[in-house]
């Protein structure tokens, strides 16, 4: 469960203070596909970046499973980020590494001493010498990458480089990469905004499948109505740094009280 309480973010510039998020309260349950929708400039990108502390909130708290993460720094922060996956509008893949190495990245950066193989206790693992651990780690990474390649259906592209892939395929690689370390939360920052509608559909289908199979909580920020309607069970509408509507997807979109909600539904901003 993620509980965001009175979250405020102010960007300080020389001329003025710019409030990007104003006292945001959100509660996200485990296994939700949670939508945050709003027009550009509403503050959604900042909001999602606060959840893995790419942006540091000015005030307020973000509790994940009861623990406030906003105070984390150093090694604890790195550890937190390993438990939260993220995908982006522009995919942000490593252009000089092939699909396999991209997917493996998150696993490669875990120190050998912390890389505990599934089905092995910490004690058993500690007994192994450094070289055994290295060998095991490599085999385990390969096994996990194979698993992920199957999940996102890219087995035949495993040795290709990102430049040789289509947008949809790149986003699949990014999804696999984000899931490699088995995060409990997956953040999607306008993940389908650079894709055509057909590809968008297939990526959303994939996210939904992943959510059902692994129970990973997915947080989606978007300015596209249809994305929210397609996969989100809950949604908040963000406008001018504040939440103007919240609830289940049906509730929010049937209740056309707020002007911004209307605009989003009516015009498809």
């Amino acid at each position: 469960m993620i509980q965001i309480t009175e979250l405020t973010k102010v960007f300080q510039t020389k001329k003025q203070n710019l409030t990007v998020l104003n006292k945001i309260n959100i509660r996200i349950e485990d296994g939700d596909i949670f939508g945050i929708i709003g027009m550009s400039g509403a503050g959604k990108s900042t909001l999602i970046r606060c959840i893995n502390l790419l942006e540091k909130p000015t005030s307020g708290s973000i509790e994940i499973d009861g623990e406030d993460i906003t105070t984390k720094s150093g090694k604890q922060l790195l550890k937190l980020r390993k438990s939260i996956g993220m995908i982006f509008q522009n995919f942000n893949l490593l252009m000089q590494k092939n699909v396999r190495r991209n997917i493996a990245f998150g696993l490669e950066i875990i120190p050998i001493k912390d890389f505990i193989i599934e089905g092995m206790s910490k004690k058993e693992y500690d007994v192994l010498n450094y070289f055994q651990k290295r060998k095991l780690k490599k085999a385990e990474i390969n096994r996990r990458v194979d698993e992920l390649l199957a999940l996102v259906d890219l087995k035949e592209k495993e040795f290709n480089y990102p430049a040789q892939l289509s947008g949809g395929q790149r986003q699949r690689v990014a999804i696999a990469r984000a899931l490699a370390t088995k995060p409990t939360v997956l953040l999607c920052d306008e993940a389908t905004s650079a894709l055509d509608s057909l590809t968008t559909k297939s990526i959303l289908k994939l996210l939904k499948k992943i959510n059902e199979e692994t129970k990973v909580t997915i947080i989606v920020i978007t300015h596209e109505m249809n994305v929210v309607q397609e996969i989100c069970n809950k949604v908040v509408v963000l406008d001018k740094s504040e939440i103007v509507a919240a609830g289940s997807t049906e509730e929010v979109f049937s209740n056309e009280s707020s002007e911004i909600t209307q605009r989003l539904i009516g015009g498809i901003a």
């Binding site: 390993k82 982006f88 490593l94 252009m95 000089q96 590494k97 092939n98 990245f105 998150g106 950066i109």
Partner: protein, 228 residues
């Protein structure tokens, strides 16, 4: 033909010697400039405002250091650095001595090249690595350097070519190499043939370095379209 044969008989070995000295100075100086300049360039990029680990004071100092180094013309540095050269190389003439000034001059240049190569990387890729929990060191060694490698390779060939030019200048202070031959034979003794020969050799060296750099950079760059 006979003229060419006579010329080579007389000066051939000297030109070979000069070429070797030029190559020695160039590569040895480039190598050392990278050993010192690479970490400085990385630190300059990492510490800048908006970098992965902003350190304004460190960045300012590095910036000043790099700019001072780059604003001293090599021909002046060559003389100004004589005491340092004597201290390090034990002599102030010959290729070995010239190499010291070359390294001093090339290091800030290399640092700037590295900094620029690293800055070209798409910020989104670094953000993604951060989001995955990569430490600053991991971002540098597992993301920034590998992603910038094709550009770094181009930088190396640029630095090497610049240094070929500098080695020729080092000929003025008796630095040896083709520059020394061009000045003492081509200029002081009016032997136009020698002047021409050194120019041709220098052009050849630069061309070869340039095309090796380009080929290598293209070979390792995976951003090109098409199946491999």
């Amino acid at each position: 033909m006979a003229v060419l044969k006579e010329f080579l008989d007389n000066y051939g070995s000297m030109l070979v010697q000069g070429t070797l000295e030029t190559l020695y100075m160039t590569f040895f100086a480039t190598l050392n400039a990278y050993i010192i300049g690479l970490p400085i360039g990385i630190l300059a990029e990492v510490s800048r405002k908006g970098g992965i680990h902003p350190m304004p004071v460190v960045n300012k100092i590095l910036g000043i250091f790099i700019n001072i180094g780059r604003s001293i013309p090599f021909i002046i540095l060559l003389f100004a650095a004589i005491p340092v050269t004597r201290f390090i190389a034990g002599t102030t003439i010959g290729p070995k001595a010239a190499t010291v000034s070359l390294i001093i001059s090339a290091t800030p240049f290399v640092a700037r090249l590295i900094e620029n190569s690293l800055r070209e990387i798409d910020g989104g890729v670094i953000e993604a690595a951060k989001a995955m929990g990569a430490s600053d060191t991991q971002i540098v060694f597992k993301v920034m350097l590998p992603e910038a490698l094709p550009s770094i390779v181009m930088g190396i060939s640029l630095a090497t070519i610049t240094l070929v030019g500098y080695t020729a200048m080092a000929g003025v202070t008796g630095g040896g190499g083709l520059g020394h031959i061009a000045i003492s034979y081509g200029y002081h003794r009016y032997e136009t043939n020698m002047m021409m020969a050194t120019i041709v050799l220098l052009i050849l060296i630069v061309q070869i370095i340039q095309s090796i750099g380009q080929k290598l950079s293209k070979l390792i760059d995976k951003r090109g379209k098409g199946e491999n």
